[in-house]
Amino acid sequence: MAGLTNRRGIRWWRGAVALAAGLYFLVPLACSVLFTVDVPGRGFTLGAYTGILSASGFTSSLLLTLELAAATIVLVLGLLVPALLAARLGAPRLRPLLEVVCSLPLVVPSVALVAGYSGVLRWGPQYLSRTPLFETFVAVQNADFPVVLVLAYSVMALPLAYRALDAGMRAVDVRTLMEAARSCGASPVRAVFQAVLPNLRGALMNASFLTLALVLGEYTVGALLGFRPFAVWIVGIGGSQAQLSVAVSVLSLLLTWALLLVFAAASRPRTRTPRRARAKAAPALVPQESAT
């Protein structure tokens, strides 16, 4: 009897917590949607959503952000994957170094990072105006494609991507995969691309998604360095067209959610059988891996 009432008590408590949390997290979203479709004085209208595409600057800023995101993902993966694979396969002593280097950006908040960047960018005109390096300083600040933002975003995404990739490589025995592929006669390059990387698909997808989400929502660096990526554009129109900016915010959250689903689906193995086989094989591989 005591056990029964106790369990009922727990269930009641759990329901209350879930209800409160659900209200807190859903009400702002619901209200945002209501705010965009129920304009005072005009009644129900979808004008805020239909007006998005024709709003000035929408396409260019969104395209810019997507280009920046693609470049950042390529750069981050291109830097991290070889380094992490090398540390796993050949030089375990490099792993602590990589961990420290990749965690360093956590100590510098993005506002402080952008202060550093604007300091460096000021060196250009101050000290280097007569050297060829000055051209580089101008080129990285090209408003059509600001390379400096790619650099800053890559630094900010590095800790997230490192965690995702490191966790992925922990779960798969990279060294055995590599040796198996090599002893079947594959060249090192082929072994990496056809044996190791396909097995790391989940981790690669995860790292890409985190980077993409970071770049899509990034405001601080873009705004303070004077560029106009997506988030800066939303704030810019917020002053004059409140409905429109809220509508875009709602859509950007939905977009992030949709991307998460797409990436989660893409990171799953294509068929079911390998998945089950891998789930069985993984526990056997893990102890071996942790022993090395």
């Binding site: 050949g90 280097v101 952008v114 460096v120 060196w123």
Partner: protein
């Protein structure tokens, strides 16, 4: 050794490629010479990139914070006055405001996030748990501009709830300290759920049963068993939330402008040239303040994380 035995017995023709393999096995601790150059070459681009894209700005902050700016009377020279300025007057108010906002919202998120995570973890539904965890993953990164606008639409001056419930007449304002706390919880709570859920899952059912068999009430179990075991994770989570709230800029900037003084918005102001002549480098000194706080956060968080990982293993 293996090579010797296989060579003595005479390898079968199809085993011909094996000796090399076996030789490799035998020398496993010492990587073959062919690979010696590979790892440094593969790691070098990352290190060079970090040196340029992270090291240079770090040097700019470190040197700029301790030198006068170029337009100051007397030109560029070493000084401590930037740092002194950064912890006085309006900047001190902003620093204090940031610390208060972060400490309070992180505390609320911890106190509210643990029951939420516990409710999800003990629900027994794998699907619910996975759904909440991925929703938390998105919401924890939802900070910034979209979040600010969602709350402006909900609780702002013309917000749906504000007008429907006449909150303004009751003294509510989103553009205040408490307004920011309510908004910050929106990304701090999911972050807390993400951080603490693995620790709650690590609480063994056997411990609860053992405590109950010894006559402990639910309260006594939490007070004497669960909370001490969870303490490192809780403290680590709190510190992480504090750091996250402390570093946040976009949400507050898009929502309240600078009506609530925060360290991040002071840096942004200073970077935009909104300072007295000759104080251009105060922004860099403020950045040093932020890095010191964030560094302290990590110095507390990392050992705590290691410690709680020991219990969860």
């Amino acid at each position: 050794m293996n090579v010797a035995t296989s060579a003595d017995t005479g390898p079968l023709p199809e085993q011909a490629p094996c000796p090399r393999k076996l030789l490799f096995r035998g020398q496993a601790p010492k990587p073959p010479h062919r690979r010696a150059l590979g790892p440094p070459l593969a790691v070098a681009p990352l290190l060079v990139f970090m040196g340029a894209a992270f090291g240079l700005p770090a040097i700019a902050i470190a040197t700029g914070a301790f030198t006068t700016s170029a337009d100051a009377p007397g030109g560029v020279r070493w000084t401590l006055s930037n740092l002194t300025t950064s912890v006085h007057g309006a900047y001190l108010t902003a620093l204090w405001g940031s610390v208060r906002l972060s400490a309070l919202s992180a505390l609320l998120a911890t106190v509210l996030g643990v029951p939420l995570a516990q409710a999800v973890v003990t629900s027994g539904s794998r699907a619910l748990r996975d759904a909440v965890m991925s929703a938390s993953g998105v919401l924890a990164n939802f900070g910034g501009v979209p979040l600010a606008f969602a709350f402006v639409a909900t609780l702002g001056n013309a917000g749906v709830l504000t007008t429907r419930l006449h909150l303004a007449a009751r003294g509510w304002s989103l553009y205040s300290f408490w307004g920011l706390v309510v908004v910050y919880l929106y990304f701090l709570l999911p972050l807390m759920v993400l951080t603490i859920a693995p620790a709650l899952e690590g609480l063994r059912a056997g411990w609860r049963e053992a405590a109950r068999n010894n006559g402990a009430t639910s309260w006594q179990f939490w007070r004497h068993v669960a909370l001490p075991v969870l303490a490192p994770s809780l403290l680590g989570g709190y510190v992480l939330l504090f750091g996250s709230a402390f570093a946040a800029y976009a949400t507050a900037a898009a929502m309240v402008g600078s009506s609530v003084p925060l360290l991040t918005s002071q840096i942004a102001d200073a970077l935009s040239g909104n300072v007295l002549v000759g104080q251009g480098n105060v922004a860099l000194a403020l950045s040093v303040d932020m890095v010191v706080v964030a560094g302290a956060v990590m110095a507390v968080y990392v050992p705590l994380q290691r410690r709680s990982a020991r219990w969860l293993a």
